[in-house]
């Protein structure tokens, strides 16, 4: 206890020296606080974007390869681009990978049921393609081809997560094959009850040689209603086409397997979506090799939306690396200066140490005393630094980010970036001549703007890092003191003085 008291008295006794020491420590701490705050915030933003853009995998058709293949297969010079399908079993296999953090499958098709009394049935069905025809009296008219469907069948439950739909009390999500839930309005409209079984029919399509020559294969389900949901959005949710098929209240929600089990080779009518997310964007190469092994045709490229990510995040990346370098430089120089200061201070205080040792104070206690002096200075500087750092960090960030944006725009101008896209297999509308839901290009084409604002904040991790650094620095001074003191024998110090 008296050691702390003595250390405190020493702080006051040697005000000049301690103020200088404090000033230097303060400069180091405030620099580190500011730089670390920016660095950690940038890091958080980067990780966030990495997860959002950098890790969603897309299987994008390679148009060049498709053309080549089509030309090679053509006999009479005419050719038709045919996308190879990725079978659902393969998709499921692709989803089984240690490189993926998430694999979400969705399947969608359409159906009709005699047992269901669709809402807005008088507006007609839909789901099929419209085709323009010249009517009997020479006018252009749109005619819906094929079967008219009144219900969309899918396993998309994201609306429930988003709060747009809620499961009615006492209901459950479909878990087993051939279980489904309906909107409460549809259930009431159809005079059905939970537990009833309904027959749902649909048809798969085989493309003919030319539009109009398709053949159909009927499929059907016996589905048990296990619950109802309430839809809180508008029935048509902004859809231009208002009919029973587009009415959200007519949707039948079931499981992925219920739908995908009905898929048949080379027949379209069921769409399967898979959304894969990589554990980390740099696993793309390894994952690509894995899916090729598992049988992904090389007409598909495996990509992530890295370019959008790079464009958005490049300035922040710049900021991050600058601040990181800055922290390292400050720490190295700071340590050197502190080490020098500490050894000068110890030499200056050699006599004092000799006196204390002559009085019988143990080496450890002498060191402890010196160390608590440095520690006290450090703590004061820490409090000041953590108080002032956040105030100056934001304006510094703004200036730096502006510069980085300018620099990265210069570097990126002229560089075009190709888009990614989500993958779909199994053409949804055979009528238009092939699976059209395969997206070429995709969302990557959007005009992405680099991040222009970065709200720096002091989070607990940063605070802990700074405290750790500060303690490390003051301990460094302590270690130097210890080494010097162990070298001094009190007799030598005192005799030299005499």
């Amino acid at each position: 206890m008296y050691i702390l008291l003595n250390a405190f008295q020493n702080l006051l006794r040697n005000r000049g020296r301690n103020l200088m020491m404090g000033g230097i420590i303060f400069v180091i701490i405030i620099s580190v606080v500011t730089a670390l705050m920016i660095n950690n915030t940038a890091n958080g933003v980067i990780n966030d974007y990495k997860n959002r853009f950098g890790s969603e995998v897309s299987f994008v058709p390679n148009q060049e390869k498709l053309m080549e293949e089509a030309q090679a297969n053509s006999t009479d010079g005419r050719f038709r681009i045919q996308l190879p399908q990725i079978e659902p079993e393969k998709l499921l296999a692709f989803g089984q990978s240690e490189y993926l953090s998430e694999a979400v499958y969705t399947a969608e098709t359409k159906g009709n049921s005699d047992a269901l009394n669709a809402i807005d049935a008088d507006k007609g069905g839909g789901g099929g393609p419209m085709i323009g025809r010249v009517g009997p009296n020479g006018t252009q008219e749109a005619e819906s081809l094929g079967v008219q469907y009144y219900h969309k069948i899918s396993n998309q439950y994201s609306d429930f997560e988003d709060g747009l739909r809620t499961l009615t009390d006492g209901s459950q999500y479909p878990e087993n094959e051939n279980e489904c839930i309906l909107s409460d309005d549809l259930l009431e409209n159809s005079d059905l009850a939970i537990g009833d079984t309904i027959t749902v029919t649909s048809a798969l399509t085989e493309n003919g040689a030319e539009p109009g020559s398709e053949t159909y294969t009927d499929i059907s389900w016996e589905m048990t209603i296990v619950g109802t949901y309430t839809d809180m959005t508008e029935e048509y949710g902004g859809n231009m086409m208002e009919n029973a098929y587009t009415n959200r209240k007519n949707e039948i929600l079931t499981t992925f397997e219920t739908i995908s089990n009905k898929m048949q080779d080379s027949l379209s009518g069921i769409t399967v979506d898979a959304k894969f997310s990589l554990v980390s964007p740099d696993m793309l190469e390894a994952y690509t090799a894995e899916v090729r092994e598992k049988g992904l045709s090389d007409t598909y490229d495996v990509t992530t939306d890295e370019n959008s990510y790079n464009r958005i995040i490049a300035p922040v990346e710049g900021l991050k690396s600058i601040t990181f370098t800055f922290v390292i430089v400050v720490l190295i120089f700071g340590s050197i200066i502190l080490a020098l200061l500490a050894s000068i201070a110890i030499r200056e205080r050699k006599y004092e140490i000799g006196v204390l040792r002559a009085m019988g104070m143990k080496k450890l206690k002498v060191v402890l005393g010196l160390w608590s002096e440095t520690l006290a200075i450090t703590v004061v500087c820490l409090i000041l630094g953590l108080g002032i750092g956040p105030i100056i960090a934001q304006p510094i960030t703004n200036v730096m980010l502006e510069k980085q944006i300018a620099a990265s725009e210069e570097a990126q101008s002229g560089t075009e970036f190709s888009g990614g896209g989500t993958f779909r297999s199994g053409g949804a509308s055979a009528m238009s001549g092939g699976p059209t839901s395969m997206r070429f290009g995709g969302p990557g084409q959007e005009d992405v703007q680099p991040l222009s604002e970065l709200d720096v904040s002091l989070d607990i991790v940063t605070i802990l890092e700074i405290i750790a650094i500060a303690l490390l620095l003051s301990s460094l001074a302590g270690i130097i003191a210890t080494r010097k003191i162990t070298k001094y024998e009190p007799i030598k110090i005192l005799m030299e003085r005499n």
């Binding site: 008296y2 204390l356 019988g360 104070m361 080496k363 024998e489 005192l494 005499n498």
Partner: protein
């Protein structure tokens, strides 16, 4: 009477010097006695005291405290508790006040005194230093005052052995007499062993035994 300190054939040579300062010291000290050690300047008096006080370690021979070799003792504790040293160069914390110096020394010695500050003021007062002077920094005290603070510090933890290196060198006759009286009392009334290095005839006059160091050896006068 059994001796409290025994030196057997003690030698000491400073690092980097050609010859030893102490070449075989054989001497023993008993409680309740005043010893003075005289000798020419540079004879090795201060060196001998630093070995006795455990600040330095003898190059050869042994120093026994009672029955135990100093080498076996925790020399920090020995310095803090068994022995009190008045240094030739005072060796006080110059930035601290007189009373702070003494309280710190008492703390290091694990003194059980409750009111350490009060005790320190009283002790300083006994050596002729008033309260106002006691609260001044050592830097702002005269040589004689510093010397008396040094003596007060050596006495503050009531050690069995008191060692003093020229304790009256900076004092006038009157103060010197006061302090010598204190030393005499310590030995003869309180049974301490008092060892004083001096050039002063006044000091040798209170001694029970006088030793002289010359040529690295010690002899009785």
């Amino acid at each position: 009477m059994t001796s409290i300190l025994t030196l057997n054939n003690v030698t000491y040579q400073y690092e980097g010097t050609k010859s030893a300062v102490l070449k075989g010291i054989n001497v023993s000290f008993e409680p309740a006695k005043v010893y003075t050690i005289i000798g020419k300047s540079g004879a090795g008096k201060s060196t001998l005291l630093s070995l006795i006080s455990g600040l330095g370690v003898a190059t050869g021979g042994e120093i026994l405290c009672g029955e135990t070799d100093l080498k076996q003792l925790d020399r920090d504790n020995y310095r803090a508790q068994s022995i009190g040293v008045v240094f030739q160069g005072y060796n006080l914390l110059t930035n601290a006040t007189a009373v702070q110096n003494i309280v710190l020394s008492m703390n290091i010695s694990k003194s059980t005194e409750k009111d350490k500050k009060g005790y320190a003021y009283a002790l300083l007062n006994r050596l002729g230093i008033d309260r106002e002077t006691a609260d001044r920094k050592i830097l702002k005290l005269s040589g004689g005052e510093q010397q008396r603070v040094g003596i007060a510090r050596a006495l503050s933890h009531n050690p069995e052995i008191l060692i003093a290196d020229e304790p009256t060198g900076n004092l006038d006759k009157e103060t010197e007499a006061d302090i010598l009286h204190i030393f005499e009392n310590l030995a003869h009334e309180e049974g301490k062993c008092v060892i004083i290095v001096t050039h002063s005839k006044n000091v040798t006059s209170i001694a029970d035994t006088v030793y002289r160091i010359s040529g690295g050896l010690i002899n009785t006068m």
